[in-house]
């Protein structure tokens, strides 16, 4: 049984300037111990999707206009706020992009972990503190007793993200949503954090929804990938399959825009033409068609549905496999 199943989720932001359909018909599921990567450019709706799972968007301006988010046999979208709070940080936890701003600057990191434990485990203070120190030890922080008494500004960026992970996993959630967990970190630290998450996943068996725009990271850790563009899911496949044979030109373009120092000539980037669309005024038809090298006249009028092109591999594109010439030979990303 999946830990999380999202079906045809719609969320929109009603702003003064217009309505942004930030999440437009997104569906996916995650099995225990599995890692699903949600990828896309800025503004593609990946973070909006992640925040929707825990209903963390401020309402208004956000309105969840349709679909369901099934976890633990219930639809989280219809759950009363009171019960939703029992889910947050307990069954499903989340870590964020910038660990500096995501930790409260005036509380010690230990106190911030204790807070979560006391909320969901009703532990006595002393026991919660001991567990908080243990949680810091689990994420590889040296001298956890001393670190627990420190403030976020006294820790390095990598250590702060470790604290966020310790806090998120303190209550042993079944699912961890990681929203660009390494974007704000140094490259050397990024790898350590991804390794730590993979290691903890092996130990605790939780599922991970990883929001990222870093395809290198996706190649390393993801079992499944969901590609989003302008709020819509445009391709969904197993990770290996997706890198082997992307079936949506946008995914293909994403892969081609990655530096590949290991392939002759791969260091020359092939950027995606144009800019991500204005979400308040989306192009007609397929939102990617103005930037697509394979666009056809009908792309401007019909929105292609996300349909299965091959077993376990869906794409939202009018093109068939025959239309896409020899995809991505040698485009397989290193690091798997």
């Amino acid at each position: 049984m999946p830990v999380l199943e999202v079906n045809d989720l719609h969320a929109e932001f009603r702003l003064d300037t217009g309505t942004v359909r930030a999440v437009n018909g997104v569906s996916f599921s995650v099995e225990p111990g599995q890692t699903l990567a949600v990828v896309g450019e800025s503004g593609s709706g990946k973070t909006a999707t992640a925040l929707s799972i825990l209903r963390l968007h401020p309402t208004p301006p956000c309105v969840y206009t349709g679909g369901e988010i099934v976890a633990g046999g219930r639809d989280l979208l219809t759950l009363p706020e009171r019960e939703m709070r029992q889910v947050r940080g307990n069954e499903i936890a989340m870590i964020f992009q910038d660990p500096m701003t995501s930790l409260n600057p005036v509380k010690t990191v230990g106190a911030q972990i204790v807070e979560s434990l006391r909320r969901h485990r009703s532990l006595p203070r002393g026991e919660a503190r001991a567990r908080a120190v243990e949680a810091l030890r689990e994420v590889g922080i040296a001298h956890p007793e001393a670190r627990a008494g420190q403030y976020p500004h006294q820790l390095s960026g990598g250590m702060r993200q470790r604290v966020m992970i310790a806090m998120a996993l303190a209550c042993r959630p079944k699912l961890l949503i990681a929203d660009e967990p390494t974007t704000a970190l140094d490259v050397t630290v990024q790898a350590q954090i991804m390794e730590l998450m993979a290691d903890l996943q092996d130990r605790f068996g939780m599922a991970i929804v990883l929001i990222t725009h870093d395809l290198g990271v996706v190649a390393q850790v993801a079992d499944k990938v969901l590609v989003m563009y302008a709020g819509r899911p445009v391709e969904a496949a197993g990770a290996d399959d997706l890198f082997e044979r992307p079936r949506m030109p946008y995914t293909r373009a994403l892969l081609e825009s990655m530096p590949r120092p290991d392939v002759p000539g791969g260091a020359v980037l092939d950027p995606i033409r144009g800019a991500p669309p204005n979400l308040l005024d989306l192009p007609s038809g397929c939102a990617f068609h103005p930037r697509c090298g394979f666009a056809r006249p009908e792309c401007a009028s019909t929105v292609p549905a996300l349909e299965e092109k091959a077993p376990g591999h869906a794409a939202a594109c009018v093109l068939t496999d025959d239309d896409l010439p020899g995809t991505s030979e040698g485009r397989r990303v290193s690091g798997t």
Binding site: L54, L56, R85, Q86, V87, R88, G89, N90, A93, M94, F96, D98, T101, S102, L103, N104, P105, V106, K107, T108, G110, A111, V114, E115, S116, R119, H120, R129, A132, V133, E145, A146, R147, A148, G149, Q150, Y151, H153, Q154, M164, M167
Partner: protein, 326 residues
């Protein structure tokens, strides 16, 4: 930095005795304060001397020139200005604020006698400010953009815009004259304190409430508030434990400075309610051209502001662990 989770988790990091950074900070600030007070003493000394002649004021209109000379000599006002200044500053070094011309007693004693009344009034006003401003600021921030927000903020703004002599008299009219619930003036029990404290506090309410509102609105948009929500905390806990603690940082500064204003700025309120405090004493000193007492009240007010500022800075370091005392 050895962190002890048991002692420090979530609480304030109070500056510790023996903390060298703290004491060097305090030392520098005290040096700063002495410089400020020196300047205030100098400026006030010369300013009061262009406000009029106390000898003329003290003598009857038909006094002779000889009588005038005698009194001038008695008060030491026949000395050259520079000589007066030197002897005044020398006196200050010995904490001697001079003799009040009107009360014929040391100015220091006169102020000390009036101080309890002023402190009582300021404390009462501070209670009024905090009791009204904190809920008003929090409610406005949580309901921002709604009619509640607009109404609350408009109400506190009216309070700030209305001058103390107007509000004071209005309150006396309603509660003392018409309803006869509270005494109109003078000092006595707690019932005497209510109207002056409300009058004095009204001005500061708006300042504190508006600052708390904007500060809390900013803080509630911070990433760590989203983290707190993602942890499953209740709205109440998020606002109190994560929101207010952070939002209070700028507010503490302003409340501290407002305490200075409440202690030193009660001149109108004390006058309206015949409250026997330092503010009213200041007015009396000016009326009688009592140079030493005028200088003494100015020095007193300046000292209050300087000390309050220092305490605010220290409390800031206690509230925000990121502030390093350097």
């Amino acid at each position: 930095m050895s962190g002890d989770l048991t002692a420090r988790s979530g609480g304030l990091t109070l500056p510790r005795i023996g903390d060298r950074a703290l004491w060097s900070f305090v030392g520098r600030r005290i040096g700063h304060a002495v410089l400020v007070l020196f300047c205030v003493a100098t400026v006030s000394f010369f300013l009061v001397r262009i406000s009029g002649d106390p000898v003329r004021q003290m003598l009857p209109p038909d006094a002779t020139a000889a009588q005038e000379t005698a009194l001038r000599a008695q008060l030491g006002l026949d000395q050259p200005l520079l000589g007066q200044y030197v002897s005044y500053m020398t006196g200050l070094l010995h904490l001697d604020l001079g003799q009040s011309l009107f009360f014929h007693r040391p100015a220091f004693d006169v102020i000390a006698e009036r101080l309890p009344a002023t402190v009582t009034l300021a404390a009462g006003a501070l209670v009024v400010v905090l009791v009204v401003a904190i809920p008003a600021g929090v409610v406005s921030a949580l309901r921002r953009g709604t009619a509640t927000d607009t109404t609350v903020m408009a109400a506190v703004l009216v309070g700030q815009s209305a001058p103390a002599f107007f509000v004071g008299i209005l309150l006396i009219l309603v509660f003392a004259v018409n309803l006869q619930m509270l005494p109109a003036s003078g000092m006595g029990g707690i019932e005497n304190l209510v109207l002056p404290a409300v009058t004095l506090g009204l001005y500061s309410i708006a300042m504190v409430a508006r600052l708390l509102r904007s500060s809390l609105v900013d803080v509630l948009g911070e990433d760590y508030i989203r983290t707190a929500r993602a942890k499953g905390l209740t709205g109440w806990r998020i606002v109190t434990a994560h929101g207010l603690r952070n939002a209070s940082l700028p507010v503490v500064t302003v409340v501290g400075l407002e305490i200075g204003n409440l202690l030193g700025g009660a001149i109108l309120t004390e006058q309206v309610f015949a409250w026997p405090g330092v503010g009213r004493l200041t007015v009396e000193a000016v009326t009688y051209r009592d140079y030493p007492l005028m200088q003494a009240t100015v020095m007193f007010l300046a000292t209050v502001f300087v000390v309050v500022n220092l305490l605010v800075d220290l409390s800031y370091a206690a509230l925000d662990p990121r502030v390093r005392l350097s």
